[in-house]
């Protein structure tokens, strides 16, 4: 029984990270209909920037995260302006390929600047605590806590502020949004900023329990795609729920089925879901 609870806790940790990454991805998809393959690269860059400011500038963890969020958010904005904006009227295949180009570029750039080796990010919360009888580390509690907080803040932002409403409005009806005076470019820019910020935040809180290296975004992004498909592309609650579903199914299948095949199980889950529902689980009626 103990192990079950320990594993559920582990699942919650990893699910939180997945949800954050998937949120950024789904936000961009919902509003601009771009499956941003470069999102994983943003995640990776986020980890490196935080590390850079912690190590070479000696900044505090949270300050470094803040800078990373801003830098990667801006990187997202630059990406939108330079790559996706010029392609907004191109066939959908083009966005995807351009995103791949960005991904290749960012990975090479990071390797050039920081090298290819694995790096550790040390968080100030490197202590083990006993939590409800489980062995947990402060960092893991922090991941769960801040991820949920970030999701709540995002929800409040989208629901309660008019800028947030503008973003949602744009995802529901682009022309309608123009007609009430919403500036499409601004919304696109804000969306990409938030998406990049979420990626940077996710990687910054997750890195201390893992490593920072150029390929760290690969599998995360792939899983994030699995999540947003499961959750219905563009659906925000879907991304959150999907993130936790994946976290739990991985952790439990690693425990009760096979560790070797746990990734396979995540992807098979997706294949099974799409086989039954080609548009994902939580997809709402036709979106115009």
């Amino acid at each position: 029984m103990d192990i079950l609870f320990q594993q559920l806790f582990n699942a919650l940790t990893i699910g939180s990270v997945y949800s954050l990454v998937a949120l950024g991805l789904t936000l961009v998809y919902g509003i601009l209909h771009i499956p941003n393959f470069a999102h994983g690269a943003l995640y990776m860059v986020g980890g490196y920037i935080t590390l850079l400011f912690m190590e070479s500038m000696g900044l505090h963890y949270w300050l470094a995260i803040l800078i990373s969020i801003i830098v990667v958010g801006l990187l997202g904005v630059v990406m939108e302006r330079l790559v996706f904006h010029p392609l907004r009227n191109a066939p959908p295949i083009h966005d995807k390929i351009a995103a791949i180009g960005v991904l290749l570029f960012l990975e090479a750039l990071v390797q050039l600047v920081w090298g290819a080796e694995y790096r550790r990010m040390l968080s100030p919360y490197d202590i083990v605590v006993d939590f409800l009888g489980l062995t947990v580390t402060a960092q893991r509690l922090l991941i769960i806590g801040t991820a949920i907080l970030a999701m709540i803040l995002l929800h409040l932002f989208l629901k309660k502020t008019i800028t947030g409403s503008a973003i949602i409005a744009m995802s529901q009806n682009r022309e309608g949004a123009f007609l009430v005076g919403i500036n499409a470019n601004k919304v696109a820019v804000i969306t990409f900023f938030i998406s990049g910020a979420l990626a940077a935040f996710a990687s910054s809180i997750a890195s201390p329990i893992n490593l920072v290296f150029p390929g760290m975004g690969h599998l995360v992004i792939l899983k994030a795609f699995v999540i947003i498909i499961i959750g219905g592309m563009g659906s925000i609650p879907g991304a959150i729920i999907g993130g936790y579903i994946l976290g739990f199914s991985e952790s439990l299948s690693a425990t009760f089925i096979s560790n070797d095949y746990k990734d396979l199980i995540a992807f098979l889950l997706l294949v099974a879901i799409l086989t039954i529902k080609p548009k994902g689980l939580f997809v709402k009626g036709a979106r115009s």
């Binding site: 594993q7 582990n10 990893i14 090479a108 599998l219 560790n259 746990k262």
Partner: protein, 385 residues
């Protein structure tokens, strides 16, 4: 173009021609040495480490005025190409190196690439400087393949014995999911059992794919092992060790030779967590006449301690030069290969980074075992003779 006049840059291997100081050298002929390894992508760090040993040796040799074979003076030129760890790219690179640079020796630091070049190295006449402990590369019976690293099988018994005595008979296996990790595990399992031990958990961790190791470590610890077998690159291995301790593991670690005790210690910020580990004695903890100079020079140039990848490649380069001298030829692979043994004997004392005990029939170097353990917060030399 390249600017690799400062030593610090040389190991980067970011240019095709890694030679330096060509202008200062006495006129003489140039022998090109080939290298094809992962210089981009996930394995690039590994590739760079292997290359750093080679280029350090090449620069040293050139700076010392080259070497003399059959009365003629030669200098070396290292031509390194990136193969992204893909065998077909290694094949293409090797053909290119032979064709365009007439390289008699090509260093390849991964088994896939070695297999792909073994297909044609006899036809095209070049020696493969094979850095891989995969047994099959020598089992192929390719007479122009020299396996550089030692077989790791000799570690199994002493490591196991030590840990079994110190902590107990139950081991859980959590090495890296690479081929090397799997080969290790495959040998360790029977070895451990032969000593009367029990394997309670078998798993592997894919460092480049797993987002969190907590899950699997939890599962391994559920079986209450006394010893944990871990390994892979030092940083992630250190992380596994740390997480095992966080989850309450009190036993010992049996660490694969790929990870370096000193690096792990550095990553974990002290020896506390690694207490009770057994692994290969780090080069810096086994300084001797053979490697002291190398360790210092390397640290000065690279800003870090050399690992075995660098050490072995460095030594192998010198070994080949000695073999060329002995063979009296810089371009006849068969002749050079035939004189490797003699080259080994001629290897200068300060280039004997590792003590090579023999060259196997099938072209594999065998090295003396060096075992290090962490006892009372210190890395202790427990090498068995």
């Amino acid at each position: 173009g390249n600017t690799s006049t400062e030593p610090a840059n040389q190991s980067e291997g970011n240019t095709e021609e890694t030679t330096s100081n060509t202008e200062e050298k006495p006129a003489g002929e140039v022998v090109n040495i080939g290298y094809s390894g992962p210089l981009s992508g996930p394995a690039a760090y590994y590739g760079e480490n292997t290359l750093s040993g080679l280029s350090m040796a090449v620069d040293e040799i050139n700076n010392n005025g080259g070497f003399e074979v059959d009365g003629k003076n030669y200098s070396l030129n290292l031509v390194s190409l990136d193969d992204k760890y893909l065998p077909n790219e290694t094949g293409a690179n090797a053909k290119r190196l032979v064709q365009e640079d007439k390289t008699p020796i090509i260093f390849v630091p991964h088994s896939g690439g070695i297999f792909a070049t073994q297909v044609f190295n006899l036809q095209e006449k070049f020696i493969i400087g094979a850095y891989s402990s995969e047994p099959k590369i020598t089992e192929q019976g390719n007479p122009l393949t020299l396996r550089i690293p030692p077989k790791y099988s000799s570690y199994i018994e002493p490591f196991s014995k030590y840990q079994m005595e110190r902590f107990g008979k139950k081991i859980a296996m959590l090495p890296t999911a690479s081929q090397y990790g799997k080969d290790w595990a495959a040998l360790l399992e029977p070895g451990w059992k032969d000593l009367g031990g029990e394997v309670v958990y078998k798993g592997s961790i894919d460092f480049s794919k797993d987002t969190d190791f907590f899950t699997i470590v939890t599962n391994a610890l559920k079986e209450k092992p006394d010893v944990l077998f871990v390994g892979g690159p030092s940083e992630p291995t250190a992380l596994v060790i740390k997480q095992a301790r966080e989850l309450g593991f009190k036993g010992g670690f049996l660490i694969m030779d790929q990870a370096k005790l000193d690096e792990i210690e550095a990553v974990l910020g002290g020896p506390d967590l690694v207490e009770g580990s057994v692994g290969v004695l780090p080069l810096i903890h086994s300084k001797n006449d053979g490697n002291a100079k190398f360790i210092e020079d390397y640290a000065a140039a690279q800003g870090k301690n050399p690992g075995s990848e660098a050490g072995y490649h460095y030594m192998a380069m010198y070994l080949f030069v000695e073999a060329m001298k002995a063979a009296g030829s810089v371009d006849d692979p068969d002749a050079i290969m035939a004189k490797v043994e003699e080259g080994l004997n001629n290897l200068p004392a300060d280039k004997r980074i590792y003590e090579i005990t023999e060259i196997e029939e099938n072209g594999g170097l065998t090295t003396e075992l060096r075992m290090g353990v962490v006892e009372d917060g210190k890395i202790v030399d427990k090498s068995v003779q």
